[in-house]
Every structure is written in structure tokens, then in C-alpha cells.
Amino acid sequence: MIVSFSDVVVVYDNFPALAGATFEISRGEIVLLQGPNGAGKTTLLRTCAGLLPIVRGSANVLSCDLTSDRFSVRKKVGLLGHANGLFHDLTVEENMSFWSRLIGTSDQDVKTAMQIMGLSDRLCTTRVANLSAGQKRRCALATLIVRRAQLWLLDEPHAGLDTHGRDELDKTLRAAREAGATVMFASHEIDRARNLATRSLMVAGGLVTES
């Protein structure tokens, strides 16, 4: 199992965002998280990334026990949250080279990732602050691609992208799966997401059920 949660409770200031989530995901799956706003999808993804402490229950992600150690899992996962994690005063290129320097990827990988996400030469020298929401999203996805994570965690990756961008994203996720990665993503683009996913989970009221 790549991810296995058992009765996991995660709280924000005494509000149980996850109220006993139990599910399992095996290697090579592309899992869609469906559910209304405030159901706990974002919390679920952030918990998988080792960002949130688990109050009760047990969780294991990529053979790291999250209850005892939330830190070692982080190098193995890639998370795209609601925020893009970009520096708005820097250009696209500078953002990319910052993250690639931190992670130690080659320039070639960076170039490929930017091509995949359709970040043209003109955009590369544009400040992130001057990009449209969709272009920022593409840039954030490009930084994620160079991570080469074993588990991809994407919070509404389709939001803000145009049709072409969404197609490229889906292609990228399928390619990552081919390469042995596992994907979890939340999306409200139900038709597209169903098409992409190999399985879908229903998240509601901090609980996870098969759907």
C-alpha cells in the first residue's frame, strides 16, 4: 500500500477537519477525491504530505509512519495546494531555477517541465505577479513536475487552467503513473476527473468512502 489511513483525525483549533478517515491506495492508482467544499479534501492531501499532525488513528504513506514521523515522507511526495508556492517578484524562470537548485534537478528537466506546461520563452522572463491565474498554476505545476515525486498530491489542479492546459496536465499525470508514481487529486471538474482517475473516493464530513 502506498497510502493507508486508519481512523485518522486531524484538527484545526479543535475543529476535526478529518473525523476518522479510513482508506487505502495502492501503487499506480490515480485517485480522485470528490466531495463538497469543506469536506476535508485539502486537509487529507496536506496530511498525506506530512504537514499536519495526526491527533488520533494511524496513517502510513510510502512506508513512513506519519504518527511518529511526519518529516521523512516529505522528500517523496509532491504537493500542489491552493497556493502556488511561487515568489511573485521573480520571473517564471527564476522561480523554476530556485526550486530546481533546492531539489537538485538538471536544467534539462526544468526545460522539459516548462515545455510540458506550455511556458513559452516569452513567459519565462515575465514576473509571476504579471501572469494570469492559469499561467501561475502552470508554473506551479512545472515546479511540481521536476520534483519527480513518488506520490503526487494535487488540490484542484484543473482550476484556472484552459482546455489545453488541462489536457497537458492529464497527460503528465498519466505519464507519471506509467513511470510508477501514484496520484491523488481533488477536483470539481467531475467529467474530466472521472476520465482521468482509476478510482474515486468520496470525502464528506471528514470521512472517506468509496464511490
Partner: protein, 235 residues
Amino acid sequence: MKSDSSMPVSKGKVVTAVFLKDVQIELRSRVVTNQVLPFAGLVMVMFAFALDNDDVLQRVAGGLVWLATLFSLLIIVQRSFAIDTADGALDSLRVAGIELSAVFFGKAIALAAKLVALEMVLIFSALVLYRVDVSAIGVVLLVTCVFCATSGLAFVGTLYGGLTAGAKGRETLLPLLLLPVVAPVLIAATRATEAAFGSGGAQTSEGWAWIGLLAVFAAVFGVGGSLAFGSLIDE
């Protein structure tokens, strides 16, 4: 595409990357040069208005330089962490499993660079506005003092800036935490600068004891900060 994680990155590379990123953002956004620097300069001029006496100004010039530096420090530190929290970049750093002590040093060095630039202008304006003279040996003392004091301020500023980053009410919490801690720097740097300026008949040689204190301060908070920063940012 292999799904294995990439090669481990050395700590030095992370420090450099974070440092360059912070400096690059400053060069691009010019917040320190266009906003903090004028603010600090204005403080110096306002002091001159308030004290309105050449002798007094000469006497307290060193203290005013460092007081203006401390006020600016608060603004620069807040700005330095605002760029990391604005779009969740700090979260991304955490998820990427980057060693946070390296981030600490990278940010601290960048902060030090900004502070040095600021202090140069402040000291220069003290020389002009408050009519202070410095001897050759005084310049050596002054440079050493700026170096040691700035390192200490940068370490402490980064440490407490990280603690308050993203917290509610950080604008007021940061001064409350930071100002008592930097009191030794204010005292020591002021005395050393006064010795260099020869304010109130102070001898240059009186300044070196204070340099020692500044160096100890920088060393203590450099080590303490690299140990504590991670657990303050990433609970």
C-alpha cells in the same frame, strides 16, 4: 521519467539558493531601497529636529544610528518572511523536505546584506548630518562593529521572524519578542560606534570590549538559531 527522488542537495547549495532568492527579490522589488531606507533616513532627520543641538547630536550619533537600524530591522524581517508566506512558498519548502537550518542561514545572510547596506547609509548620514569625524583606526573599529552587530541582528531577526511568520498579530508580536533580545546589540554596538566616533571624548580603544560581546551574541544566536529555527517554523 524515473520516480526516484533526485540527488540529495548539499546544505551549502540550499543556503546559497535561499540567499540568492531573497537578494534577487529585493533587487527586483526594491522594498528596502525605496521604502525602508527613506524611512530610516527620515528617522535620522527627525532625531535632529527633536534634539536640535549639534553637541548633543554628536554625542548620541552612535545610538541614533543603531536605534534607526533596529526599527528598520523589524520592517525588513517582516517583509523577508512575507515573501515566503504570501503564496505558500514556505509550505512548499517544508514539503520539499528542505533542511530548515540551511534556510535559516540563507535568509539570515540575505537579511545581513540588506542591513549592511542600510547601516552604511545611516552611518554616512550621521557623519554628514551630525558632523561626526572618524579616525583611521576608528574606521577599522566601525567596520568590525558593523560586521559583528549585523550578524547578530540577522540571526535573531530571522529566528523570531520565522516564529511569528504566519501567526496572527505578528506585527505586534515580533517587536515584543525581538526588541528585548537585541538590547545587548543596541548597547554594545552603540558604545563601540561612539568609541569610533569619539563621541563625548570616548577613546577608540574602549570599543573593542564591546566587539567581543557582539561576537559572542552573534555566535550564540547563530548556533541557537540553526538548532531552533526548524522547530519554530515546522512544529
